[in-house]
């Protein structure tokens, strides 16, 4: 469903993505682990097209999308959430979701008819609000909801384009352990045919949702396999033990 081949990227002398090849099957839920600065976010940026790789390709549903701009890839079913909330701050939760749903339903560029009031848009807004527990906050502005709820909205906005592949950059970053656990229950309830690629800092939480695990270290894939194998991996302990405790 989503595949990279030999992706490579440097910022000057800093080599942030080293020959990364990944392959996600349809419906696969893969978690990317890696210490701070391992290049996880930079990899996401290349997958969605916000950054151009120096070398290598990105394939979405069998098609080479490496040269496609961000918006086109998104319309082909690739959606992402951000590590740092990237929301429509002055607007309500409902409007945030509606703007995304309007794009998906083709209502975002008509000057003669409304988008947010359309039945198909409202339906997606309602579905997504249920999926990520935003129903009670629909009419609140982003500035009026708590940080944890904003994290839910961050994923909700990405979901409202009804993607085939959803990339989530540390969806639980900055929220308490209890809320993070609840969040993972939400993720587990997402449709099974949705392909998920999730960056997660917490290893235990990662094992909660992952079908497969990829570990990045210094921009390089150092592990790619099943959670059980990852759990027993000495390499992983070595990379993580230091940074794990203080994360």
């Amino acid at each position: 469903m989503l595949e990279t081949r030999n992706l490579d990227k440097s910022f000057g002398a800093v080599h942030v993505t080293r020959d990364v090849s990944l392959k996600l099957e349809r419906g696969e839920r893969r978690v990317i682990l890696g210490p701070n600065g391992a290049g996880k976010t930079t990899l996401f940026n290349q997958l969605v097209g916000e950054l151009t790789p120096d070398r290598g390709t990105v394939h979405l549903a069998g098609e080479d999308v490496t040269a496609l701009p961000v918006a086109k890839r998104a319309r082909q079913g690739l959606s992402r959430s951000y590590q740092k909330n990237t929301l429509f701050d002055g607007l309500t939760v409902e409007e945030n979701l509606g703007l995304a749903a309007a794009i998906h339903t083709g209502n975002a560029t008509t000057f003669w008819s409304d988008s947010l009031g359309k039945a198909e848009v409202r339906e997606i807004v309602k579905d997504v609000a249920n999926q990520v527990d935003l129903m009670p906050f629909l009419h609140a502005k982003v500035s009026q909801i708590s940080y944890g709820v904003r994290r839910q909205l961050e994923v909700g906005v990405a979901l409202a384009t009804r993607p085939l592949v959803l990339l989530m950059d540390e969806p639980t970053s900055g929220v308490g352990p209890e809320m993070a656990k609840g969040f993972h229950d939400l993720l587990n309830n997402l449709p099974r045919d949705l392909t998920l690629l999730i960056i997660e800092h917490d290893m235990d939480l990662a094992f909660d949702v992952a079908d497969t695990i990829t570990v990045l270290n210094y921009g390089e894939v150092v592990f790619d396999g099943l959670p059980d194998a990852a759990r027993g991996s000495d390499l992983l302990k070595e990379i993580y033990l230091g940074s794990w405790e203080d994360a």
Binding site: V48, E50, V70, A71, K72, A74, R75, S79, R80, T86, L87, F88, D89, G90, L91, E95, G98, L99, A100, A102, I103, H104, N107, A108, T109, T110, F111, W112, S113, D114, S115, L116, V157, A158, A160, T161
Partner: protein, 330 residues
């Protein structure tokens, strides 16, 4: 995102009643001022659409109005088209030019966007100034008004023309509201709030900006057509960048991003200009001081100030019953 509020409806009713009253009771000079306000109001509506709802602070809207005015003048006089055809063509040409400017400038932001639009405006100004077909420095005269005598309306009558402009402004306000409430308008606001996210969600951002800028330019062009018909003579001064600057002043004075505010701003600005200039030749100084006051007050222009005032009052009104309950208990 644009929403009508009861206060905004009330302001619209007040403005419309005031304009109607003026249109039916005023003498020649009052009618001239009214028409001036109505045409300026169209221009600032167009500007508020892009600046207030999409953050596209344009310094070429005066020039776009000039394109409409010159387009109509040349097409109806030199080219000999009938007024309705010339009007439609002039408005269409302005919309097309605006769309292209919007598309080209869509990738720049902030001060760079302002400078790019200024450059386009200045190009248009100097072209018109130099080109013989536009009459150069001398301008163009002999411009005719739309002929509606077939339905018994004589637009050469000052009062009738003022009423015609009022009806046109109402229609244009409706158009602006329709655009801002449409899918396109909502996406446009989304882009102002977070362009990166809109793109990541699959929106072709430059296209949305160009489309709204084109529609806004279409309105500015229409204002230009009416300006040409109003004065029946046009000169390159119409396209000077100071016209765009003045329009921006009016938008900010009235209330950026409220659509109703700029209408208030246009009325206040024109009346102030005429009242003050009869008192002193330094009227610009006084308008400047007022603008600085408005900007420093931290309210969103005159209309924003009124909105804040009513919001504070309704909060106080909610608090008051509690106080009476307490006194009853005591």
């Amino acid at each position: 995102m644009f929403h009508h509020t009861p206060l905004r409806y009330a302001a619209l009713v007040l403005l419309a009643s005031g304009a109607l009253f003026q249109a039916f009771t005023a003498q020649y000079f009052g009618l001239e001022i009214l028409t001036e306000i109505l045409i300026l109001a169209m221009l600032v509506l167009a500007l508020d659409m892009v600046a207030g709802f999409g953050g596209m602070v344009s310094l070429c809207h005066g020039a776009l109005m000039g394109v409409g005015a010159y387009g109509y003048a040349v097409l109806s006089t030199t080219a000999g088209l009938t007024p309705p055809v010339a009007m439609a063509a002039a408005v269409g040409i302005t919309a097309g030019i605006s769309w292209v400017i919007g598309a080209i400038c869509s990738r720049s932001h902030g001060i760079y966007f302002i400078m790019a639009t200024l450059a386009f405006g200045q190009m248009a100004y100097s072209y018109v100034f130099e080109a013989p077909i536009f009459g150069g420095d001398d301008g163009l005269g002999g411009i005719e008004r739309l002929d509606l005598s077939a339905v018994g309306i004589d637009l050469n009558d000052t009062r009738t023309f003022a009423l015609f402009c009022l009806v046109a402004l109402a229609a244009i306000y409706g158009l602006a509201v329709m655009v801002l409430r449409s899918g396109l308008g909502r996406s446009f606001s989304g882009v102002m709030h977070n362009e990166q996210r809109m793109r990541a969600l699959g929106l072709t951002v430059w296209r949305v900006k160009a489309d709204v800028f084109g529609l806004s330019g279409m309105i500015a062009g229409f204002a230009g057509v009416l300006a040409a018909q109003h004065i029946m003579y046009i000169s390159p001064g119409l396209m000077a960048w100071t016209v765009s600057g003045e329009a921006l002043v009016v938008v900010i004075l009235g209330g950026l991003g409220t659509l109703v505010g700029p209408l208030v701003g246009a009325a206040v600005f024109v009346v102030l200009k005429h009242e003050l200039s009869s008192l002193t030749t330094y009227w610009h100084l006084i308008v400047g001081v007022i603008l600085i006051g408005v900007v420093m007050s931290r309210a969103n222009g005159i209309f924003g100030f009124i909105e804040d005032y009513f919001a504070a009052r309704s909060k106080a009104a909610v608090a008051t019953p509690k106080a009476t309950e307490v006194t009853k208990d005591a």
